[in-house]
């Protein structure tokens, strides 16, 4: 894996990856940005539980064999010009852990009306 800047991992933020199957869509036809995804909990055994809308997903914590580095593009135009370097990036964060949710989301039933 790429060698990291010599600031040491103390200098780099540690992020976590959330891996979900399929697509995430906003509830109404709004943007994803600014919307609430859901609530993340951990059970006593350390199992991550994600509640999205009316659904509950169970996942697991996975230590990544190959960590990810998050790159941020530095300055310059969005389209590189012939005279400019072809794409300058800085490593902003490292991701060594992911929360993988691949079981089918279960709908949460909060109220079952009883037959009288």
């Amino acid at each position: 894996s790429p060698c990291l800047p010599s600031g040491g991992t103390g200098a780099l933020a540690q992020w976590v990856l959330l891996e979900l199957q399929g697509e995430v869509e906003p509830r109404q036809s709004g943007d994803l940005a600014g919307s609430l995804l859901g609530d993340l909990h951990y059970t006593c055994e350390g199992v991550p539980v994600l509640i999205v809308g009316h659904h509950i997903l169970y996942g697991k914590v996975v230590q990544l064999e190959k960590p990810f580095a998050v790159l941020v593009k530095q300055g310059g135009a969005s389209q590189p010009s012939p005279t400019e370097p072809h794409g300058h990036y800085t490593v902003t964060a490292l991701i060594k852990t992911k929360l993988l949710f691949k079981t089918r989301p279960k709908p949460i039933i909060t109220h079952v009306p009883k037959k009288v």
């Binding site: 976590v16 199957q21 995430v24 990810f68 530095q74 964060a93």
Partner: protein, 334 residues
């Protein structure tokens, strides 16, 4: 920081300060969301007190990511660019011409798919020098002319090959050639050191000098009678130096099957950079190779922990010929 390098017709590579990586885009059908500061169960357990709700923001998401694999820096282009306009000396009129095919460090960083350190290291390996801000390779004839000045001076002054004084060289030869060039040729063909008195000396590289002289002889014909060549070669090198065929690895090839035996110029740096193309080229030159003969011509292809043996297993097929193991192409040669 990291930088992506490559021209439109090249596969992109990602470079750190000192390493080069092939890039591939990997697609996943899953969504990857990145959450800064999100805590893992272990981290929360350690911090028993916090049972509050932590508001975290998802920084972004993606369905693909870049996969990197460390690769050999693509440095063949470096020599190719510098050979567009080799430096022929200050008297050459060619040098007053445009700076069109001249390259600064910055230019090279933009054009070569390698990290800065790998590029700078390679410039040293190929004995490039900076003249007026541009990286230049010496024209071979000019280089030999400079080398000859130095070896003749060493001979006339009877200096030991391991102790050639810089100052005296600059003084004696300074009227013939630019001082920077004299120092450059000493640096290219010797190891610089400072003695206890603080004076600068060079320990000359016997092997490298013999090798250069061999190249000078071999480039004048398609091939040479081996024993004739060895005689002329030994006579052409400075007093006190001994020629050996192993000095010519990656430069020349001996044909032991011809009667009489012959030798011809074959420079590894003239061969293709891609593994498969390199092997195709070598098997086109000679159908069957021994490991000893082929090694100097494939050594540079070895990846970080790869051996020549591994390369041969992958790209060649072996067989026995007169009790000796030889390698030939996996494909039929047309």
């Amino acid at each position: 920081s990291l930088i992506i390098r490559g021209e439109k017709d090249e596969h992109a590579v990602l470079c750190s300060k000192d390493k080069t990586y092939d890039m591939k885009i990997a697609d996943t059908s899953n969504m990857l969301l990145f959450v800064p500061g999100c805590k893992t169960p272990e981290e929360l357990k350690a911090d028993q007190a916090s049972c509050n709700i932590i508001h975290s923001q998802i920084a972004g998401f993606s369905k693909n990511y870049w996969e990197l694999r460390r690769c050999r820096p693509k440095l063949k282009k470096l020599r190719k660019l510098l050979m567009e306009d080799p430096y022929e000396g200050p008297d050459s009129r060619q040098d007053q011409a445009s700076t069109f095919s001249k390259y600064t460090t910055e230019d090279l960083l933009n054009l070569i798919q390698a990290s800065e350190e790998e590029i700078l290291h390679q410039l040293q390996v190929i004995d490039a020098c900076k003249i007026e801000g541009y990286w230049r390779i010496l024209d071979f004839d000019y280089e030999m002319k400079l080398l000859n000045h130095v070896t003749q001076l060493i001979d006339s002054e009877s200096w030991p090959l391991s102790k050639v004084p810089l100052c005296a060289c600059l003084e004696e030869l300074g009227s013939l050639e630019p001082r920077e060039m004299i120092e450059h040729i000493l640096l290219s063909y010797g190891r610089k050191y400072i003695d206890d008195a603080g004076e600068v000396f060079f320990e000359m590289h016997e092997d490298k000098i013999c090798r250069a002289i061999a190249q000078m002889l071999l480039q004048n014909a398609v091939k040479f009678n081996l024993s004739e060549f060895e005689e002329v070669w030994q006579q052409s090198v400075p007093e006190g130096m001994t020629t050996r065929l192993d000095q010519l690895q990656g430069l020349a090839l001996v044909d032991k099957s011809s009667r009489p035996e012959t030798i011809f110029l074959l420079k590894v740096e003239d061969l293709p950079e891609d593994n498969q193309e390199r092997f195709n080229s070598l098997f086109g030159i000679r159908e069957k190779w021994t490991e000893v003969d082929i090694t100097p011509y494939i050594q540079d292809l070895c990846a970080e922990k790869q051996t020549v043996g591994a390369l041969l297993t992958k790209y060649a097929r072996s067989s026995m010929l007169n009790g000796v193991k030889v390698y030939n192409s996996r494909r039929p040669i047309s």
